[in-house]
């Protein structure tokens, strides 16, 4: 697929290039923020699996440079325009996408640490660490980056000044063996959560990528033990055809006596036990008429789920990014005079880079991926 047809196929790919984001995933965080006010009162943030750095870019622009990036950045003005003109009985025409420069309001004492295995181009005001989030040695590195006075010889692995928000947009290279991919993604989520448990302040938030697939309800149930609210959210900029979604966990409330540790991490082997107990009673369906006139049928499984808090629980789902946001699945008409731009960052070197080069030497084509410079 050529650059231009990719622009049409994916509005966010085009917008990301036009607005200087390193990856289209920046919009996912922006749309999550719009729905959940993720950055409200937030100054200390850890961004896990950060490369190529589009989420850190959002953090840099919003928290450090104090930009207000509103929905204007991703609004598909034609959607509302057509609706408005329909009401007025007119024919919709093309509309401009330009907005004035965003207002800025920098915050004080902002501290952002980004971690990834892959090297990441530096970003203003952000401390980048090249480290493995599953490894215990990463914790002192992170604590040191968060607080320069942190004494790495101390045995404490808890942050003296915990953070408000931990983000993770990490995903594995999928193999195609669905079970295994689901497992690996869950391990990445556990790794991010374990790190978050070490640095997050009570009441803090954790936002991470999750695959909405088989057994995702087991993950939800586990997350619900340490956070008061767990909502799974899909931004409009994430394709409907993708299983990707984001878990937004709010109000971190570590169970009494809980001590986070990467030497004995939570995950498959260690599980949290819920303090919730409820009397088992058969589910009673209830009906409720919502404000929009739709009757909701609650099968009453939530009560039951309290009993099974350790096993399965379906988190409420919330689509975010207003419906007037560009649709990631739709084919879009390009604005007039559209010039297709190069991506802000080319893909980094895959492990088979050497294989590509050897194959090239032998004269064979091995895919057309253009690689970034080896660093």
């Amino acid at each position: 697929m050529g650059k231009s047809s990719k622009d049409k196929r994916d509005a966010y790919y085009r917008l990301a290039k036009e607005q200087g984001w390193r990856a289209r995933s920046a919009f996912k965080l922006l749309q999550l923020d719009e729905e959940f006010d993720l950055f409200e009162g937030v100054t200390r943030v850890v961004d896990l699996c950060a490369a190529p750095g589009s989420w850190s870019q959002v953090l840099s622009r919003v928290l450090i440079q104090g930009e207000r990036i509103g929905r204007a950045a991703w609004e598909d003005k034609r959607y509302n325009e057509i609706l408005r003109l329909r009401e007025a009985g007119e024919i919709p025409g093309p509309s401009a996408e330009d907005e004035g420069p965003p207002a800025t309001e920098p915050r004080q004492d902002v501290k952002i640490v980004a971690i990834d295995l892959q090297p990441m181009s530096p970003l203003e005001g952000i401390t980048c660490l090249k480290a493995d989030i599953t490894h215990p040695s990463t914790i002192p590195l992170l604590l040191k980056a968060l607080d320069s006075e942190y004494d790495s010889s101390s045995t404490s692995i808890e942050a003296s000044h915990p953070v408000d928000l931990v983000l993770s947009d990490g995903a594995p290279d999928v193999t195609g063996l669905h079970d295994l991919d689901i497992y690996i993604q869950s391990q990445l989520l556990w790794a991010a959560l374990n790190l978050a448990l070490c640095v997050l302040k009570p009441g803090g938030r954790f936002v991470a990528k999750i695959f909405r697939v088989k057994d995702v309800d087991i993950l939800y149930a586990q997350l619900k033990v340490v956070f008061e609210s767990v909502i799974v959210s899909k931004p409009r900029s994430s394709r409907a055809s993708s299983v990707e979604a984001f878990i937004v966990c709010s109000n971190f409330r570590p169970p009494p006596g809980f001590k986070a540790s990467l030497d004995n991490p939570l995950g498959s082997a260690t599980k949290l036990n819920s303090s919730d107990t409820a009397v088992s009673r058969p589910p009673e369906p209830t009906r409720r008429v919502r404000d929009d006139g739709i009757t909701e049928l609650d099968l009453g499984l939530d009560n039951l789920d309290l009993v099974q808090m350790n096993t399965r629980w379906i988190a409420p789902f919330l689509a975010c990014g207003d419906l007037s946001a560009f649709d990631a699945d739709a084919s879009h008409k390009l604005p007039e005079g559209h010039v297709s731009l190069d991506p802000v960052q080319p893909p980094t070197a895959p492990p088979y880079r050497q294989a590509l080069e050897e194959r090239k030497k032998q004269g064979g084509a091995y895919g057309k991926t253009k690689l970034g410079d080896l660093r």
Partner: protein
């Protein structure tokens, strides 16, 4: 809901070592096949909601073994009693992590399990005198592994290789011991080293083996990786040892210097690059009793397995050994070989993501050999033209004009007999046409010879008026032969009718000679004859894709009439082979089968009534190789073989079995060649760089126990019922193919045809009401109308692409959905939903398309469109913005106007599934499944009222289907990405307003092993019961219970729902088995 049959990725395989039984893990079913007759012996549900990822069998007792998948493991026993075969299962044990490998100790009692965090579990069944054990003996580390292999080196210790996500390999050993009733394990690390630049997907430890040109035995480690490399390491030296596993991970992430040069790195013996994508597995090819390691096998994402030969390196500066690609087996469609097993004598079994199970015999590759020119006699003569006159009998003419018979019966050498010393008219030019027992030869001067194999003699048949350009022979139904002789100069051909001269018959002269006047530009490339109602017909195929039909009456033998000419039979490409189905005397029609260089096989119905002769195309599909398809052959066992070329390969393919029979790297099309088919392959002779080669295949390179399906996930499914109640399932997949299936519960899904025409993944499929048309859509506005007919010879079901929408391929828009309402045969009004939010209505009739109306929704991608009835709306659409939208159409003077009148926000975002039922009051109940996990029931009359179940599934709802019960009640079956299939009872009291009278209750909730579910359809099972077909990565057919049976099962469901832990309980637990 009861499992009927399935076709799922094969994620585990194992040879049982006795009775030729092959075990496979297909989803959560353990299946046993007889590898001899390829029959399924038994299938057994194992884990409740977890696919099997590994099977091993006890070495000393091959009827018992262990399966594992995810966190779970279970022992099993195979019972063969008389003609019966069954699988019994032991208790389910859970570890706390993903199991990567398992191995039984030599006594088959202690099971060692290694998990993805490098923890070792030991599992021992409890017996009367032992309480058994199931515990983690060696704790793991934080680093995640992608692969591991456990090899017991003695009764009490095992050697383990662990491949990490970051390219490192840890080689360690452990010795589980029991003292005073307590188990413990001491472990030691021998090597921790950066082995690859990418994740390690496969590791394998050899037993002590000899190496080529080496006296000492070694233990070798083979590894394969994301970096496309296969490496062999010498890990014989296990003296270096450090205790503990916790400290092993040298640093985080990928180390900076991969390649095995570190201190702790074992010596690298050999390295090679293979496969075009990731490599999932490596195995050692150690042959039989010989204990020398001389080959290695690798299996990849590219769905191929490669055998590598291992030899000592000639150059001392490089690595000590060299791996050379020996041969490749590509038995699977699409991507990914997930599971492999290999026997001591070298047989290889592979399980693919396509659901196929391939079994390759001991890799004894067939080699090509040159047929020496010296066999043609003295004087440096060379081959001119050749063909088979019998099995292993090749008749050849030479440059100097000799005629030689080559005997290929010996695999090692070729013998020759000179039939004729140089004939002047054959010098430098000769044409040869061979059939069984007979050949015709012509040269420059018009002499036509026949060679009769029975007496090894050359006879002169007749004298032609000039040089022959081509000879085409065909058997006649009345006996004898028809020989068509084409000339280089004239626009005519000569048809000779000959008696059966292959018999020891004195009469060898043609009984009749007829001149056929060829149409202009008609260069004959193929020829066949048939007799219908006493009239003989000759069918000629031409280089420009034409077919011509000539008739001649047997009684008035001198009148030949051109009765029909048809262009574009194979596009503008040559019609390379023609075959006519022989007729009985009463038949008024027959069929012709043809192949062409357009890469297709075509079947026409030849209809003869009252002097009118018609040729109707009833089947034409692109074959999976080509485009140069050269010949047709009907096998004695009912197969239909075609052969031709695919890039550099000569390929033989069975159209009925839908599989490749043989493939030879001959350099490509456009060369002299001959093929003699025989069971399991045949003999191929070809000319390459003026040398002639032969290759004989006597057995298929692989057998398919389960022929498999799509190479990628299914995106759309549609079921139809043909005449006489025959049910056909159509599936369209991301691999761009459409497949037509018959469901046979006994033997699973039988693929009838694969329709290869789309260039993009299939978005939607729908049958016309009467099942005569199948319509498909994809990306790039691809939209095809397929016509289906049944009762054809050889292939039964005929498929042609009757029309392609004129805008196909014209833009990058996807046609997400469409609807084909009931209509008159062959004429449809089709509504199409596009990815750019437009809705268009087209009329299709007689291969022509007319745009009736077009309108925009907003900017959201439309997901589907359904024709509406009754309430005044024309159609309903669904979109990614969660709305259902009602559209009306109004007929204007010239064109029709399409306009949406109301939108109803039902779901939060994309609507993936939609189905509906008409209620008796004229309203319509529309059921939708959303990406938001919800199922909605929207009652549509003047207004739209909705009842929503927000958390109906744990992930996107992608399939809905209705099982009608009675007027007041139906069942809704839903499925989604959470791999659950749920059965809902929906009661409708139409007297109540809106959705107040709609009651919904969940009856059942079951796991399906189909991942990435894209849809489901209700179908009929044998015996008339209803089934539900779930499609995605594979297919799974459930039997829907009778309504009266639901109560009992509901109880079972309650147990399921209240079950407190993950998957520890199996559906059927048989405890205390002491194996």
């Amino acid at each position: 809901m009861q499992h009927e049959t399935h076709q799922l990725p094969v994620t585990a395989v194992a040879f049982s070592g006795q009775d030729d039984i092959l075990l496979t893990g297909e989803g959560n079913y353990l299946c046993a096949y007889d590898s001899g007759d390829k029959k399924l012996l038994a299938k057994q549900l194992t884990f409740r909601a977890q696919a099997i990822h590994g099977i091993i069998l006890c070495e000393d007792s091959p009827s018992t073994g262990v399966i594992w998948g995810g966190f779970l493991t279970r022992r099993f026993h195979l019972d063969r009693s008389g003609s019966g075969f069954s699988i019994t299962l032991g208790e389910v044990f859970s570890t706390d992590d993903w199991i990567l490998d398992a191995a039984l100790d030599p006594g088959s009692s202690v099971l060692a399990l290694l998990t993805a965090h490098n923890a070792l579990w030991i599992s021992i069944p409890h017996t009367d005198d032992d309480n058994g054990l199931h515990d983690r003996l060696v704790p793991g580390s934080n680093c995640i592994l992608y692969s591991a292999h456990i090899r017991w080196l003695s009764d009490s210790s095992c050697l383990i290789a662990s491949g990490t996500a970051f390219g490192d390999i840890i080689v360690w050993s452990t010795a589980p011991t029991q003292s005073s009733g307590k188990w413990s394990a001491q472990s030691q690390i021998h090597y921790t080293f950066p082995a690859h630049a990418g994740s390690i997907f496969g590791v394998q430890i050899s037993p002590w083996v000899h190496f080529p040109s080496s006296k000492n035995k070694k233990i070798v480690l083979a590894s394969c990786s994301d970096d496309r490399n296969i490496k062999l390491w010498d890990i014989s030296d296990l003296s270096a040892a450090s205790p503990g596993l916790a400290q092993v991970v040298h640093e985080t992430g990928f180390s900076t210097t991969p390649g095995g040069s570190g201190n702790a790195s074992p010596p690298l013996l050999a390295r090679t690059m293979g496969h075009i994508s990731r490599i999932w597995h490596v195995r050692f090819g150690i042959n039989g009793t010989a204990t020398t390691l001389n080959s290695l096998l690798s299996f990849g994402e590219d769905a191929s397995s490669i055998t590598w030969s291992l030899t000592a390196a000639s150059k001392p500066t490089t690595l000590p050994y060299v791996l050379n690609e020996d041969h490749v087996v590509a038995a699977h469609a699409g991507k990914n070989i997930w599971a492999v097993d290999i026997t001591a004598d070298g047989a290889v079994a592979t399980g693919g993501a396509d659901g196929a199970m391939a079994l390759s015999p001991s890799p004894e590759p067939i080699r090509e050999s040159e047929i020496p020119r010296a066999l043609l006699g003295p004087g440096g003569d060379s081959f001119k033209a050749y063909g088979f006159v019998g099995r292993n009998a090749l008749l050849a003419t030479t440059e100097q004009g000799r005629v030689a018979l080559l005997d290929l019966s010996s695999a090692e050498s070729t013998a020759s007999t000179i039939i004729a010393e140089p004939l002047p008219e054959l010098r430098g030019y000769s044409v040869v046409e061979c059939t069984a027992g007979l050949a015709f030869i012509a040269g420059t001067n018009g002499n036509l010879y026949s060679y009769v194999h029975g007496c090894r003699q050359l006879y002169k048949v007749t004298e032609l008026t000039g040089k022959a350009a081509g000879l085409f022979a065909a058997h006649r139904a009345s006996g004898g032969f028809a020989l068509l002789v084409t000339s280089v100069v004239q626009h005519s051909a000569l048809l000779l009718l000959l008696p059966d001269i292959s018999a020891a018959n004195e009469e060898r002269l043609p009984s009749t000679q007829l001149a056929l006047a060829l149409p202009a530009g008609f260069t004959v490339t193929s020829f066949a004859t048939v007799t219908v109602k006493g009239v003989s017909y000759s069918i000629l195929g031409a280089r420009n894709g034409y077919i011509a039909l000539f008739s001649f009456d047997g009684n008035q033998s001198d009148t030949v009439r051109l009765v029909l000419i048809r262009e574009s039979v194979h596009g503008k490409e040559a019609v390379t082979a023609l075959h006519c189905v022989p007729t009985d005397f009463e038949d008024e029609h027959t069929y012709t089968v043809s192949t062409g260089r357009d890469g297709t096989l075509a079947i026409h119905r030849l209809s003869i009534a009252c002097d009118s002769v018609e040729l109707y195309l009833v089947h034409q599909l692109t074959l999976p190789f080509g485009p140069n398809i050269e010949a047709i052959y009907l096998t004695p066992s009912g197969g239909l073989w075609v052969w031709g070329f695919k890039s550099k390969h000569f390929t033989v393919y069975d159209v009925v079995a839908q599989r490749e029979i043989m493939s030879v790297d001959c350099g490509g099309a456009h060369r002299n060649c001959a093929f003699q088919p025989s069971e399991g392959g045949g003999t191929f002779i070809w000319t390459k760089a003026s040398k002639v080669y032969r290759m004989t295949q006597t057995a298929l390179p692989y057998e398919l126990l389960n022929s498999g399906g799509h190479g990628r996930e299914i995106k759309s499914v549609a079921v139809t019922t043909l005449d006489r109640g025959r049910q056909i399932v159509a599936t369209g997949a991301e691999d761009t193919n459409i497949k037509l299936w018959e469901t046979v519960v006994e033997s699973g899904f039988k693929c009838l045809h694969t329709l290869r025409k789309h260039n993009t993944g299939i978005q939607h499929l729908q049958w016309s009401t009467d099942g005569t048309y199948l319509v498909s859509s994809g990306g790039f506005e691809e939209f095809y109308v397929w016509k289906i007919s049944s009762g054809l010879p050889y292939i039964d079901l005929g498929v042609i692409c009757e029309s392609k929408h004129p805008r196909s391929g014209s833009s990058d828009l996807r046609i997400m959905g469409f609807d084909l309402p009931e209509s008159l045969a062959g004429s449809f009004e089709i509504s199409m939903a596009y990815s750019d939010s437009t809705l268009k209505c087209w009329r299709y009739m007689d291969k022509s398309w007319q745009l009736l109306a077009s309108a925009d929704y907003l900017t959201a991608c439309l997901m589907d469109v359904k024709s509406a009835h009754g309430d005044g709306t024309a159609v309903l659409t669904t979109a990614t913005d969660g709305n259902i939208v009602r559209w009306v159409s109004s007929d204007g003077q010239q064109d029709r106007q399409l306009q949406w009148i109301s939108r109803h926000k039902i779901h939060q975002n994309a609507i993936h599934a939609v189905t509906s039922i008409n209620l008796t009051d004229g309203s319509r109940l529309l059921m939708t499944g959303g990406d938001d996990n919800a199922i909605a029931f929207s009652r549509i009359s003047e207004e739209v009222k909705t009842l929503l179940i927000p958390r109906a599934h744990a992930a996107a709802v992608t399939g809905l289907a209705i099982v009608p019960i009675d007027e007041a009640k139906f069942w809704l079956v839903s499925t989604g990405i959470d791999q659950r299939v749920k059965l809902w009872e929906v009661k409708v009291n139409i007297a109540k307003a809106g959705v107040e009278g709609i009651e919904v209750k969940m009856l059942q909730d079951v796991f399906t092993a189909v991942a990435d579910v894209s849809g489901l359809e209700v179908c009929k099972l044998e015996g008339g019961a209803l089934g539900v077909l779930v499609c995605g990565v594979g297919m799974y057919l459930w039997g829907v219970p009778e309504e009266r049976g639901i109560g009992a099962i509901r109880g079972q469901f309650d147990v399921d729902l209240y079950r407190p832990l993950l998957d520890l309980e199996a559906p059927e637990v048989k405890n205390n088995a002491a194996w």
